[in-house]
Symmetry: C2
Subunit: 477 residues, 2 copies
């Protein structure tokens, strides 16, 4: 982190998007690689973004009646195997503990790739009556999935996430929970991340191992690819039967519970980078930004500059804003570039001339736009600008999304437009073979069946059979 | 969790303290056992206590200039082996991942028992100049240590904790950090947990594997045994040399950094239970209690009772208090016992007669004392009572602690009074053999060398040689 390693130009987005992404991750100091492939180090700046997401979601989870718990980080192999589809989905990517306290273990322990089985075992123990329901739990932790190809935040052998696990008396209540949590995630996109998520149901092929129904939030990246950013699952009573989670209902009968799970992960940091970032680096939505305002003094040796900057810092912090005043001996130019790279939403510049006129210059990271304002009005101007920045970022991402959805009525049309990036809406017969063919021909996958199922045709353009679903396809991360 | 399993009496503290402890852990629904020995489930009520501790400490850490990060949960075996004392200390209790993605790994991975080695590797990469120092990092996570005998919260194969890791330019700065964080922990005891910690330095025999100096906070349990509740370590430049963490100083010379680490864990929950609990269950200090006030209606079917209780709840919540109103159809007697078991600091009772007189009854969990107050004055009365409860709990624990410290001037005297529980202060020659002999003869260990080193004698009562240190000995968990 010497002077030399900073402020180097990064690869342009349009030249090499993948390299641009990696450059931003490293240069903005979001993460570093560890010596184990796929296990990254979340550096302070990257982790602070995750903390903002945690704070927002944890409050929403509690408001909607959920409680936090913590389950063991290891799962006995026999426990993971209790639900057939589930183990088939996860077995290939397990990390396995075989030695403990210098002895070979009698039963191998799987480092949790997800914790459904642990929650199920616990639920079966603590629930006996309808009066014990619902149980609405959430857990913040990391999980391990042994991935062959890994990319920071997008796909890692270990990642941080939250996993909600709930059990309910009725199917209806569980389905309601599944969709309610999808809404919580979608609102988080709009209100916190400035990302418009496309929502809908996953096809059979794409759903979670063991789920009856999976719902998804999908974001569109700058390069036109989709990123699955979170999912909610309705399990029916499949796990309840495998794990014998029953309760005695009011009518005296013993019944199985109905279950859900749902999660988002540090992959959201990847979404923020790839939706909003530009050739100068990260562009952070104000509410998720660890530092929301940075104050850069011009000619800071001149009388009164440092004192006024300090005063501004304290005034803004009183509003509850996260503010940094950089009075280091770097040049203003270096500081501008550094905080642009770090995506700080608003920069305040103050030099001798400004001080004389009781003014400051404000510069918006998302547009580069600069305005001058009277220091007396600073509080209201800064607050309104941060609000505007959020709205502009959301609107820009929404416009990109809306422009990127195209309809295909023939398979040739599909194959042509899918290469432009973005989503292609197409009718589908419901047969996995057609999804497989599309994947093989174009590398695109069905992202979701959107809630708006108004048909745009009668037949599946791939096989010509009767269409049953409207599907959004895209190439995806 | 049916009606039947609650409200059962628990074992008395004086009959069987260990059984009492386990009963409280289970009946207060703090934890449950999982199917893997030593890995417990943190249930909502137990986890919520940890969340209060986290919130308090996280704020203190940030106020004192620390940043949160997240390191991988696995450590390559070769990395753990880089510091000789450190690996010797931890190797016997490692859980080891040998299989990933269905393949035998080329290098075995240790599930982190602590993360010094990971931080060191990272520090070596990101630090090059004195301008990069200090780095003051903290991590919230779980760690795994394969323990033979395990007890909920006190000793587990997996536990939750925070680990601070810092590197500094000078020895003085690192030593200052080590003692400052000990103060943060000690203040947490006084201000949050109502626990007076004894602080001091560990002897060579008891210090952390790889540390030059270890400092400790020790708490006295109701049964007279000590519980090491947190430690801070000064590493000198031992790890820096093993991991080659160097920086170029202002004078142009390349130097090694000076390092610290420090941590507390969910063991603090065990301390809260065993310092404050009584034969009716948990007694929680108000600031750490997930629910601070519980409102229990008497004859709740009578007109106006539920409405008034609801009003009281909202009024208290406006003060920022955590309040529960139990309007379930259980009896008041059941509710009294239940919330005593859960240690809720203050209970408010409201019946028809109270309502008529515009009064409520307030009952303090720590003393059982009941007072009546006018509902109009509720806010100020509740706030002042919660404050009083905290002070009374702290004072009671402090009195117990002060009465439990006895001086021994001969080894016979030591052997006699050590069996009464509490601390025995004795002079010590500095030789590990004497510590070993004491352990063998009495099962007591040196807890710390207190900061107050005013001698109480000239010779070590065990060997008769010249004494160099004042030491506090105790039997310990």
């Amino acid at each position: 982190m010497g002077l030399d390693t900073k402020n180097d130009a990064i690869t342009s987005r349009d030249v090499d998007f993948a390299q641009w992404y990696t450059d931003v991750c490293r240069k903005a100091e979001l993460m570093d690689y560890s010596s184990v492939k796929g296990f990254i180090i979340y550096r302070p700046y990257g982790y602070a973004i995750w903390e903002q997401i945690q704070k927002y979601l944890d409050e929403k989870f509690k408001q909607t009646g959920h409680e936090n718990v913590y389950m063991p980080m290891v799962i006995p192999e026999s426990l993971l195997q209790k639900e057939k589809d589930h183990v088939e989905g996860f077995a290939p990517e397990c990390a396995i503990v075989t030695i403990g306290g210098q002895n070979e273990l009698e039963e191998r322990l799987i480092v949790r790739p997800t914790s459904e089985t642990l929650f199920c075992e616990h639920f079966a123990k603590i629930v006996s009556s309808y009066r014990d329901l619902p149980k609405k739990y959430n857990q913040w932790c990391s999980v391990v999935r042994w991935e062959k190809t890994t990319r920071p935040f997008l796909r890692g052998s270990e990642f941080l996430w939250q996993e909600g696990h709930t059990i309910h008396r009725t199917k209806e209540e569980a389905k309601h929970e599944t969709l309610m949590m999808l809404d919580v995630y979608k609102d988080m996109g709009k209100d916190l991340l400035a990302i418009p998520f496309v929502t809908g149901q996953k096809t059979e092929k794409e759903k979670f191992a063991g789920a009856e129904e999976t719902y998804t939030i999908e974001a569109l990246m700058h390069d036109g690819k989709a990123l699955q950013s979170g999912t909610t699952h309705y399990f029916g009573d499949g796990f309840a039967k495998a794990f014998n989670i029953t309760y005695q209902d009011q009518d005296g009968k013993v019944k199985h519970v109905h279950q859900t799970s749902w999660g988002v992960s540090t992959r959201l940091i990847g979404a923020i980078i790839m939706v909003h970032g530009d050739d100068n680096g990260l562009v952070l939505p104000p509410l998720v930004a660890p530092t929301q305002v940075v104050i850069v003094p011009i000619q800071q040796a001149k009388p009164g500059i440092v004192a006024k900057c300090t005063e501004i810092k304290h005034r803004l912090e009183k509003l509850g804003l996260r503010v940094k005043f950089d009075d280091s001996d770097r040049t203003p130019g270096w500081k501008f570039a550094e905080y642009e790279m770090k995506g700080i939403p608003l920069r305040i510049e103050l030099g001798p001339r400004d001080l004389e006129n009781n003014k400051v210059v404000l510069c918006k990271r998302n547009t580069g736009e600069k305005i001058q304002t009277n220091i007396d009005e600073l509080e209201s101007v800064v607050q309104s600008m941060l609000k505007t920045i959020h709205e502009e970022m959301y609107q820009k991402a929404l416009d990109q999304l809306l422009h990127s959805v195209n309809n295909a009525h023939t398979y040739d049309e599909f194959k042509e437009i899918i290469n432009n990036g973005g989503y292609v809406k197409m009718m589908w017969c419901g047969d996995e073979d057609c999804e497989n063919k599309i994947k093989e021909d174009t590398n695109a996958t069905s992202r979701c069946m959107p809630f708006d199922q108004r048909p745009i045709g009668d037949t599946c353009p791939v096989c010509g059979k009767k269409a049953t679903k409207v599907v959004l396809f895209a190439k995806a991360y």
